[in-house]
């Protein structure tokens, strides 16, 4: 059994004044203060590409040292965009196995250290570099292919697709840790600059720097980790019979032993909405929306605090809270923990008892999920 006893987050932004290590230490210090612990057995650092960003290897031990945790056991974990949840799986396993009593998990990435061309080059590597990554896919090209496929297959128009970013921006406006704290209309999403047509700038996550941390412990507290699971997917969506179905997400969730009815009973989720289309693919893969229906369900109010279904991404999601690649999963965990404690300083999810995180890399090369419960 394991609990999350403390959380810390730095607002996602272009942090020109702060280095990667500064961000990690800031978030981790907050989490340690929040948990009120002093004995840390392990430090797990989740980051997608710190070496590309700032030239640093063995990131975990340098982070531990500058946190003042001399002698702590420390290791880094990388799983692309899912690094944060891969870090949780590591921390949870250490605690559940008895190898550690308390683990500090820190997620950190810095995407704005260089120009955006360099960042795009880095995040193209989230896709299979021996497969479609050989071609000029950019960071949004595969999302563009899947979005057009979805719209064509299910007859959904561009404007209906655009509700996800509008809802996410409305949520992020209330979240002090979010990068994009402004409202956008569905019309504005649909007519924004194209990144990978039909994907526009407002369908995509922004490039930002961030760090978040959680403390995972064997000592019982307010928020229990019910389970953490993962599954590997096929290398490319082109390898799937239905490129829009995320087999790895479905497998990870079923490994937690959850049925569709169980998922409908979850109060709040943070899901991996790297692009508008990714959010709809996840909602339909989970069976919460029928195929081709997720955009329409959302446009009709489902998944919001006032509507039916689990509340999706009160934080604003990757879309508007932001997506510092390897750190994002730890933000999701910190947010869900706060929803269950009732102290999140943004959209209120009153009385939420069960919360879930869905994370993945690229278009499902791997998927992770965590289920948390208020005790």
């Amino acid at each position: 059994m394991a609990w999350i006893s403390g959380v810390g987050m730095v607002r996602i932004n272009r942090h020109y004044q702060k280095g990667l290590r500064d961000l990690a230490v800031e978030a981790a210090s907050q989490a340690l203060r929040d948990a009120g612990v002093d004995g840390i057995d392990y430090v797990v650092v989740a980051s997608s590409s710190s070496y590309r960003q700032v030239g640093q290897l063995d990131l975990a031990s340098y982070t531990s040292s500058y946190l003042g945790l001399r002698g702590a056991r420390s290791l880094a974990v990388e799983a692309g965009e899912a690094s944060g949840l891969a870090g949780l799986l590591t921390a949870y396993s250490l605690v559940a196995s008895g190898a550690a009593e308390t683990v500090l998990l820190v997620g950190v990435d810095k995407l704005t250290e260089y120009n955006s061309g360099e960042a795009y080059d880095m995040i193209e590597g989230l896709y299979d570099v021996e497969g479609e990554g050989f071609y000029n896919i950019g960071h949004a090209g595969v999302a563009g292919l899947l979005m057009r496929l979805y719209m064509h297959e299910y007859g959904v128009d561009r404007l209906t697709m655009s509700y996800w970013p509008a809802v996410m921006h409305a949520n992020a406006k209330q979240n002090p840790y979010a990068m994009l704290r402004f409202a956008v209309t569905p019309e504005k999403v649909a007519s924004a600059m194209p990144l990978a047509d039909p994907v526009t700038l407002l369908d995509s996550y922004p490039l930002g720097d961030g760090a978040a941390a959680v403390v995972v412990t064997r000592r019982p507290g307010q928020v229990r980790i019910v389970g953490v699971e993962t599954a590997t997917g096929l290398p490319s969506p082109a390898h799937r019979d239905d490129p829009l179905y995320l087999e790895s997400v479905a497998e990870a969730v079923s490994r937690l032993g959850l049925s569709r009815e169980d998922l409908e009973g979850i109060d709040v989720m943070e899901i991996h909405d790297s692009f508008t289309i990714t959010a709809y693919m996840i909602l339909e893969t989970l069976g919460l929306s029928d195929k081709g229906r997720a955009a329409k369900d959302l446009a009709e109010g489902k998944y919001t605090v006032e509507g039916d279904g689990p509340v999706m991404n009160p934080s604003g999601g990757l879309k508007a809270r932001g997506h510092p690649i390897g750190a994002t999963g730890v933000y999701q965990l910190a947010e869900v923990t706060m929803y269950l404690r009732g102290d999140f300083p943004g959209v209120k999810t009153n009385g939420a008892r069960r919360g879930m995180v869905i994370s993945m890399n690229a278009m499902g090369s791997s998927a992770y999920t965590a289920l948390l419960q208020a005790e």
Partner: protein, 137 residues
């Protein structure tokens, strides 16, 4: 991308060589030592060819610095002889593209290596010539 990686892959990029699994019968791109579907090592190289169709496409404006001079790039989800793969579409303007249209393979430049100026080539697809695009030959 490194020059060495491109050289290693030149055969399957120039002629679109994939993998056929003798155990489960599936064929996929690219080349692999084991089947990504069933795990079998009883696999052989397979030329990916046959009728090609456009399943979806995207006009990509946001590309890496190496490909800046190629932008916008047309990316395609293409089915070739029953095998789906993601590739580039060339010799076409975005307005000509239609989901379901017939395509044909052609060798084209993909990008230029930053330091050496070496040009990388690979198979891309273009709208099929001499047909009406409906697939009826």
């Amino acid at each position: 991308m490194s020059i060495a990686r491109h050289w290693r892959r030149r055969h399957n990029l120039y002629r679109l060589i994939g993998t056929r699994c003798r155990s489960c019968g599936r064929t996929f791109y690219p080349q692999a030592q084991r089947c990504i579907y069933c795990g079998s090592s009883d696999v052989e190289q397979a030329r990916i060819d046959g009728e090609a169709r456009l399943l979806s496409y995207s006009i990509v404006y946001s590309v890496t610095d190496e490909a800046r001079y190629e932008a916008p790039v047309i990316l395609g989800l293409v089915e070739v002889g029953g095998v789906k793969l993601i590739t580039e579409i060339t010799d076409a303007s975005p307005g000509e593209l239609e989901v379901g249209m017939r395509l044909e393979p052609v060798l084209r430049k993909v990008s230029i290596h930053g330091e050496s100026g070496l040009i990388y080539y690979a198979v891309k697809f273009r709208p099929a010539m001499g047909g009406d695009g409906s697939g009826e030959d």
